[in-house]
Symmetry: C3
Subunit: 473 residues, 3 copies
C-alpha cells in the first residue's frame, strides 16, 4: 500500500511540458538502435533478393509470380489507411489537427521499424543464418502492428505528449508481437483482418492507458470540432472505408482467399452505413439531425467486425448481417456508452475507439469463432478446409468445431493482453517525466507546435487593384 | 387534366422537413430486404469460391491468373472515385459539405447493394441454381451503376432530402440495370467506360428530376463557395482526374484492352486541361481571371468523352482531339448554357452536370459510334475485331459499320431512359411527403446535420503560457 | 556589356500582369501542336496494341504478363504523387491554394504530353517506321519528367505567372529529356528513382530560375500559412510519403527489382521522420515546439536520397542510414540554409526545394555511386550484377567500380543541366512580357483567380428554425 501511495505522490507532482530534450533524445537513440539492430538482423527475403531472378529462370517461373505483384497494391492501400486514414480521422478536433496528423506519422514511422524486428524474431527468423528475412508481406504486417498502436492513440488523443506516444508505441508493438505469436502460432487461430489481434488488442490497450491517465479536471473547451475540421476528418473516414477491403484481404492466401476477403468486407461496410445513419437519426430524439461523428466512425465498424471471418465462406448475406448489427451497436455506443464510460468508469475516450474498434473487434472474434465452428466439408471441400484453416503439419487432424474453440481462445488472449498491457504501460506513463499537457491545455496544438497566426484580413492594395481593373475594363 | 391539377395541388402543400421517422425506416427496411434478397440470390463466383484453388491445381494454373489480380487495383481506384471523387467534388458549397460527403456515402452504400442484385439478375444469373455469382467485376459494375446515381445527385445537390435521394437511387439503379442490359446485351453496343450507359443516362436522369423539382423561389445565398470549400472540392477533382484511366479500363478485356483504355484516357484528360484553362480565361471578358469552377469540373470532361472508345484503336492523337474539343464545349457550357437552362428551361443544375457529364457523355457516344464504324481489318486484324467488338456467337457476322449503327442506337436508348425515367421519378419525388428543404433552407447543412459552432476565439491562458515561456527562455 | 545592360533595361520595365490573351493563346497553340505531333509520331506499343492478344495465343503466354499488370498500380501511385502530392504540398500558403493546385495541374497536363514526345524521340523511336511506341512505362516516365518541372515550380511558387510556368515547363521537359538520355544511355548510369535525373536536375533548375528572377522588394505578408492551409499541405505530404516506394520502384526491373526498391524506400522514409522530428525540436532553441514546415517537407527527403540506389542491394540498414542522415540535413537546411540563401545568394526558394530535393538528390547520387562501386559478385552473383547494372551489350565488361564512376559522372551532368538550363531559361523569363505578379501581389490568388468572398455570417432564419424546433420538441 505504501508503495502505491508513494507512486501516486510521485505521479501527482506538477507537470512539466518540456519535451525539448527528451523527445529528440528518444528519436535519435531509438533510431540509432534500429539501425544497429537492422544491421545485425534484417536482410531481404528470397523474393526481394537479387538472386530471385536467376532462380526464376532455372525453374521457368514467370516474374509476375513474385509475391510483390500479389500483395503490393493491397500494401499501398493499407499504407494509406495507416497514414491518411488514421491520421485524418483524428483531425476532427478544432485545434489538434497538427498533432493528429503529425504525431500519427511519427509513431507510425517508428512503430513499423520496431514491428519489423519484433515480428521478425517471432515469425520469420531464418534458422540457417539467424537473420530476419523481409518482403512485402512483412511490410504489411508491420503496418498492421502499427495500426493497433494508432487505435490506442485514438483513446488518448490530445492528452499525451509525443514522448509518451513513443513509449506507448514501443510497448504496444512489443506486446502485439507476443500476442500475435500466441494467437496465430501457438493457439492456431486465424485472423486475416485482425479483428482480434489488431482491433480488440489495440482498443483495450488504449482504453486501459486512458483509464490509468484519467484526468478528473480535463478542460473540454477544445474537445470539439469546427466545420472544416469535420470535413478533414471525413477524408480519413473515406480512405479507411474505401480501402478496408484491401486491409482484410492483404495477407489472406493467394487467389480466392484475397478475392473473397475483399468481397465480404465491401458488403459488410455497405450495410453498416445504412444502419449507422438510421440509428444516428432515430436517437437524436428532439431534432431530426444526424451527428457527423457517427458517420465518421460507426460506418467503419463493419470492416472491423468482418476481419477475422473475411477469408472464410461467410457468404455475402452473412457479411451484410455482420455489418447491419455493427452499425447499430457502434452508433448506440457513441450515444450511450461513451458518456457512461467517462462518467462511471473514468475512461476518457477522445475518439470513441471503444465503439469503433473494441466492440466490433470482439464481435469480429465471435463471428470468426462461429463461422469456423460451423465450417463443413460440404461448403469448403476437404482441400478447402485445409487451405482456409491451415490444417497442416501438427494441426492436420483439427476439426472445424475445435477451430471455433481456438478462435474463441484467441479472442480472450487479445483481451487480456490489451487490458493487462495497457494497465502496466499506463503506470509507466503516469510518471511525471514525460512532458504531457496540463489539464487546461489538452487538445491544443499550441503546446507542441508552432501554430500560424489566424487568417488576418489583408487590406486589398486598392491602387493596384483599380489599376488592373481599369486596364482590363 | 384534372388528374394533373390535383397532382399539382397535392405537391404544393406546405413542406415538412421532418425525416426523423421516414429515413431510419427506409434505411432499416431496405437494408433488411437486401439481406433477405442476398440470402436467396447471391453467392461467390468461381474465382472467389474456396474450390478455386483446388481446381487451379488440377489444371496447373497459377494463382495470379485469378481475375482479382487483373482488376482489383482498378476496382480500388474506381472505389476512390465514387466515394472521395464524387463526394468531395460536391463539397464546394460553403455550407453543404457534410451533406455532399455524407449523403454521397449513404446513397452509394445502398446503391451498390441494390446494383449487385439488379445487375446480377440481368447479367450473371447462373441458370443451374438460379443464383447470382459475384466477384471483383461485379463490384466494379456495382460501383459504375452507383456512379450514375451520384451524377444525378449533382443536379439536385442541396435541394432534396436524404429520403428523396434514397428513392432516386432505388429507381436510378433499377433503370440503369435495364438500360444497360438493353444497350450492352440486346443492342450489342460496346461501352467500356460508360459514356452512354453511365454518364449520359445519369446526367439526363438527374437533369429531368431537377426540372420536375424546379423551385422558382430558390434562395441562392448559400449557393456559392468559400475559399477552403473550393480547395476541398479540388481533392474530389484531382482524385477523379487521376483515376479516370482506371475507370475506363476497369472492365475492358484483359491485356492490351485495359492497357490501351488507360493510355487513351490519360491523354484525353491531359488535353482537356489545356483547353479548359484557355476558354476559362478567354471568356472572362473583363478580367484576366480563371474561374475555379471550370478547373474543378471541365477538366474531367475528356475522361467522360473517351469512355466508349477507350478500348478501341482510337490512336493517341484521337484521344487528344476528343479531350481538346470537350474542354472547350464543357467550359462554354458552364459559362453560357447553365444560366440559360436555369432561366429558360427551368432546370436548376447545382453542380453543372450537364456540362461535365451530359454533353461529354453524348460526345463520347458519338465518338464511339464513329470509331467503331471506321474500324477496319487493316488496323485491328481479323482476331482483333472479334476481341474488341465481341463479334462472337450470334453477332459473328457483324460488320464494323453495323456496329457503328448499334452504338448510335445505344446512345439513343441511354438518352430516352435518362429523360423518361427522370421525369417519372421526378413526379414521385414532388409528392410532399419526402421532407425536402424549403426554398430558403436549401444548400444548408443545418437542416439535417448537427453543425458545430463556429470557431470561437479561445483566449490564451496567459499565466500558463508565460510560465512555459519563462521556463524555456 | 552593353548587351547585358540593355537586357536589364528591357527587363526592368513596369510589369503587366495581363495574361488574358497570352495564356489562352499558349494553351491552344501548344495543344494543337501536340495533336499534330502525336498524329505524326505516337502509336501504341506492342503491349497496348490490339494484335498483342493474338500474338499471345501463338506463344501461349498468359494475359497477366502484359507489362500493364507489372506497372499500372505503381503508375497510379506516381500519378497521385504528381497531382495530389505536389499540388497539395504547395497549398500551405494562406492565399495561394488555387494557384498551387490549379497551375500544378495545368503544367503537369501539358508537360506529360511534351514529355511523351521528347522522351520518345530519345528512347523509344521505332527505327522500322519512325514512330514512338508508348505504353504504361512511357506514362510513368512522362510523369517522372513532369515531376522535375513541378519541383522547379516549388522554388518560384507565387512569384510567376501561368505563362511563365508553361514556358518553364516546355524548356524543363526538353532539358530533362536530353539530360536523361545522356545520363542513362550515354554515360550508362542507373537511376531507378531519379535522385539525379529528376530531383537534382529539377531542384537546381528551379533554384537557378528563382535566382534569375530575384525580387529584392518582395512583399512577404502573404508568404505564410494559416491553420487550415497547413492541414491541406499535410495531405500532399502524406500522399508523397506513402507512395514514394511506388515512385522508386515504378520502373525498376520486374520481380525482385521492384520488390527491393519498394522495401528500401519504405525504410528510408521511416527513418527520416524520426530525425526530422528530433532536429526540428532541438533547433527551436527557445521553445519546445515543432515546426510543421519540417514535417511537411523534410520527412520526404529520405525517399529522394534513396532513389538511385533503391534497386541496388543497399540492405535494409543501409536504407535506414540514408534516411537518418537526410532527415538531419534537410531539416537543418530549412533552419539555416534557406534564410542564408535568400540573404546572401539572392535565391528566394518559396517551398524550400533546396532542402527537400536538391541536397537529398545529390546525396542520393553519391549513395548510388558508392553502392554501385561497392557491389561485389559475392553479394549480387554474376547474373545479378548483369541484371541490376545492365552490364549487357557494349557494357558487358564493365566493373562495379567503373559503374561507380559513371554514376558520379551522371550526377555532375544533372547538376550542370539544372544550373545551366535554369540560368538560360531564367533569362528568358525575365523579359517583361509574361504577365508575372508585381512584388506586392505575389503569393496572392486574387491576381489570377476569381476568389469567392469570405465566409459571411448568414443570419439564421429565425421563424423557420423555431418552427422546426417547436414541431420536433
Amino acid at each position: 500500500m505504501g508503495c502505491i501511495q508513494s507512486f501516486r505522490q510521485c505521479c501527482d507532482q506538477p507537470k512539466n511540458t518540456n519535451v525539448r530534450i527528451s523527445l529528440p533524445a528518444v528519436c535519435f537513440v531509438w533510431q540509432l538502435a534500429m539501425i544497429i539492430l537492422f544491421g545485425f538482423f534484417i536482410r531481404y527475403n528470397a523474393e526481394s533478393d537479387v538472386h530471385w531472378k536467376q532462380e526464376n529462370k532455372n525453374i521457368s517461373r514467370s516474374d509476375i509470380e513474385n509475391d510483390f505483384y500479389f500483395r503490393y497494391p493491397s500494401f499501398q492501400d493499407v499504407h494509406v489507411m495507416i497514414f491518411v486514414g488514421f491520421g485524418f480521422l483524428m483531425t476532427f478536433l478544432k485545434r489538434y489537427s497538427f498533432g493528429a496528423v503529425g504525431f500519427n506519422l511519427l509513431i507510425a514511422a517508428f512503430g513499423l521499424q520496431w514491428a519489423l524486428l519484433m515480428q521478425g524474431w517471432f515469425h520469420s527468423l531464418d534458422p540457417m543464418d539467424g537473420k530476419i528475412k523481409i518482403g512485402v508481406e512483412s511490410m504489411i504486417n508491420a503496418d498492421f502492428c502499427v495500426a493497433s498502436c494508432l487505435i490506442a492513440y485514438g483513446a488518448v488523443l490530445g492528452k499525451v505528449s509525443p514522448v509518451q506516444l513513443m513509449v506507448m508505441t514501443l510497448f504496444g508493438v512489443t506486446l502485439y508481437a507476443v500476442e500475435e505469436y500466441i494467437i496465430l502460432n501457438l493457439i492456431h487461430a486465424r485472423d486475416a483482418g485482425g479483428s482480434m489481434v489488431i482491433h480488440t488488442f489495440g482498443a483495450y490497450y488504449g482504453l486501459s492507458i486512458s483509464w490509468m491517465l484519467y484526468r478528473p479536471n480535463l478542460d473540454k473547451r477544445l474537445n470539439g470540432s469546427v466545420y472544416h475540421s469535420d470535413v478533414f476528418a471525413m477524408i480519413g473516414t473515406l480512405f479507411l472505408w474505401m480501402f478496408w477491403p484491401s486491409f482484410n484481404s492483404a495477407i489472406s492466401y493467394h487467389g480466392d482467399g484475397q478475392h473473397r476477403a475483399a468481397i465480404n468486407t465491401y458488403l459488410s461496410l455497405a450495410a453498416t452505413v445504412l444502419t449507422t445513419v438510421a440509428i444516428s437519426m432515430l436517437t437524436n430524439i428532439c431534432w431530426c439531425w444526424f451527428c457527423l461523428v457517427h458517420i465518421q466512425n460507426s460506418t467503419l465498424a463493419g470492416g472491423v467486425a468482418v476481419g477475422t471471418a473475411a477469408e472464410f465462406m461467410l457468404m455475402p448475406y452473412g457479411s451484410l448481417i455482420v455489418g447491419f448489427c455493427c452499425g447499430i451497436i457502434s452508433t448506440l455506443g457513441y450515444i450511450y456508452l461513451t458518456p457512461f464510460m467517462e462518467k462511471y468508469l473514468k475512461i476518457q475516450d477522445t475518439c470513441g475507439i471503444h465503439n469503433l474498434h473494441a466492440m466490433p473487434g470482439v464481435i469480429g472474434g465471435i463471428v470468426g469463432a462461429i463461422t469456423a465452428a460451423a465450417a463443413s466439408e460440404g461448403v469448403y471441400g476437404k482441400e478447402g478446409l485445409k487451405t482456409v484453416f491451415d490444417f497442416t503439419g501438427k494441426w492436420e487432424n483439427m476439426l472445424p468445431t475445435q477451430q471455433g474453440g481456438h478462435q474463441a481462445a484467441g479472442l480472450c488472449v487479445a483481451l487480456c493482453f490489451g487490458i493487462g498491457g495497457g494497465i502496466l504501460v499506463g503506470c509507466v506513463l503516469r510518471l511525471p517525466i514525460w512532458g504531457d499537457a496540463p489539464d487546461d491545455h489538452c487538445f491544443d496544438d499550441e503546446l507542441y507546435w508552432e501554430v500560424p497566426e489566424d487568417e488576418e484580413s489583408i487590406p486589398p492594395i486598392l491602387e493596384y487593384d483599380n489599376h488592373i481593373r481599369n486596364q482590363a475594363g
